[in-house]
């Protein structure tokens, strides 16, 4: 058996070693945690800005695509109407393109005041539920030219039939669309 003093020395020696080991581990942990926190902070600060830049780039790409399209005709057709005379056909190229740009702008500004973005599934269900009571207010807007674009105006809901994007319009915006056909 060891002498008690010898054991005391051993206790202090072991404690010293363990404390050194702990300090080393702490230093390693700090060395890892500090850069991690820095990276997270940088990503939190800059990610929204980067995503905004990305969104702007997407918007400008859409704008560029929209401006490259040229439409000659616009057909305004009330759905479920059996009356052929209810279909309005606009052949004024300037007016057609103005209508297209106007409608397109509603989708581009979908995060703006008065408009909101719904998923296609939700808009479909809205169409179904409103079908029965409000079918007179459903219109199909078809732009014809080097390409074809179709929009469904269902009450205040406007759906791009090509992309299935949906926006809920204000009454004023609905009137702005209807003005093209008066």
């Amino acid at each position: 058996m060891r002498d008690l003093n010898e054991c005391k020395k051993e206790v202090f020696k072991r404690s010293e070693i363990r404390l050194k080991k702990r300090r080393k581990q702490k230093a390693v942990m700090l060395g890892l945690i500090v850069p991690l926190i820095a990276i997270s902070a940088v990503s939190i600060i800059f990610y929204p800005k980067l995503s905004a830049v990305g969104a702007n780039m997407n918007n400008s790409a859409e704008m560029a695509q929209a401006s490259s399209l040229s439409f000659q005709e616009l057909e305004f057709m009330p759905i479920l109407s059996t009356d052929d005379s209810a279909v309005i056909l606009i052949k004024d190229k300037e007016k057609v393109e103005a209508a297209y740009l106007k409608i397109n702008s509603f989708f581009e500004n979908q995060k703006g005041v008065g408009t909101s973005f719904d998923s296609p599934e939700k808009s479909e269900s809205t169409v179904e539920s409103e079908d029965e009571e409000n079918f007179q207010e459903q219109f199909l807007l078809t732009f014809l030219g080097n390409e074809m674009r179709e929009f469904l105006l269902d009450g205040n809901t406007l759906t791009n039939q090509n992309t299935m994007q949906t926006v809920v319009l204000t009454d004023k915006q609905v009137l702005e669309i209807q003005e093209f056909f008066q």
Binding site: R2, L4, E10, V11, F12, R14, S15, R18
Partner: protein, 184 residues
């Protein structure tokens, strides 16, 4: 008596001699207690050194809710059980070494049990099942209360009560008529 808590407080406030006091007071009884688990004085000594080293390394871990003695025995128990859990290799011990070890045990017993009466009881205790040995050791030799012994052994007070009742019965059988008065 606060079972070392005031010494530990002094140690925390920078008085190194207080740690010596704690070691003088509890080191040997801790080695003897650990030996009840590991059956090897050298290993028990090694574990006891680690237990005291714990007190220095994790200074704020002891929260003074139990006595320092109880706390030390709790760490000792868990370290001894850890040792047994991680002990994978069976070592073959030389016969001379066995003699040496048993001499060490006797030396330790002499340090712990100053009187013959306690030593006789201690010899009888060796024949008890391990759990009973530990309960008897904590209550009769370390003079811990039933509750403190239960805390160290991680058992309920009732369980310790039962263990001690059965241990007493067994000891009476082992010690016979002459030894019965030793238990009183």
């Amino acid at each position: 008596m606060d079972n070392g808590a005031s010494s530990y407080r002094r140690f925390l406030s920078g008085d190194e001699s207080a740690f010596d006091e704690i070691m003088n007071e509890y080191f040997h009884s801790l080695v003897f207690f650990i030996n009840r688990y590991v059956y090897d004085v050298h290993t028990a000594e090694d574990i006891a050194i680690d237990v005291f080293s714990d007190l220095i390394v994790h200074k704020r871990r002891y929260n003074f809710k139990v006595s320092l003695k109880t706390y030390l025995f709790m760490i000792a128990r868990s370290r001894a059980l850890d040792f047994l859990r991680h002990k994978k290799v069976l070592t073959i011990v030389d016969i001379c070494e066995v003699k040496e070890i048993s001499d060490d045990e006797k030396e330790l017993e002499e340090i712990i049990f100053s009187n013959e009466r306690k030593r006789t009881v201690a010899d009888a205790i060796e024949k008890l099942p391990n759990e009973m040995q530990i309960a008897v050791h904590l209550v009769y030799f370390e003079e811990l209360s039933y509750q403190q012994a239960a805390t160290v052994m991680k058992k309920s007070r009732k369980q310790v009560d039962n263990l001690l009742y059965r241990a007493k019965k067994e000891l009476k059988n082992i010690l016979g008529k002459d030894g019965q008065e030793l238990l009183l």
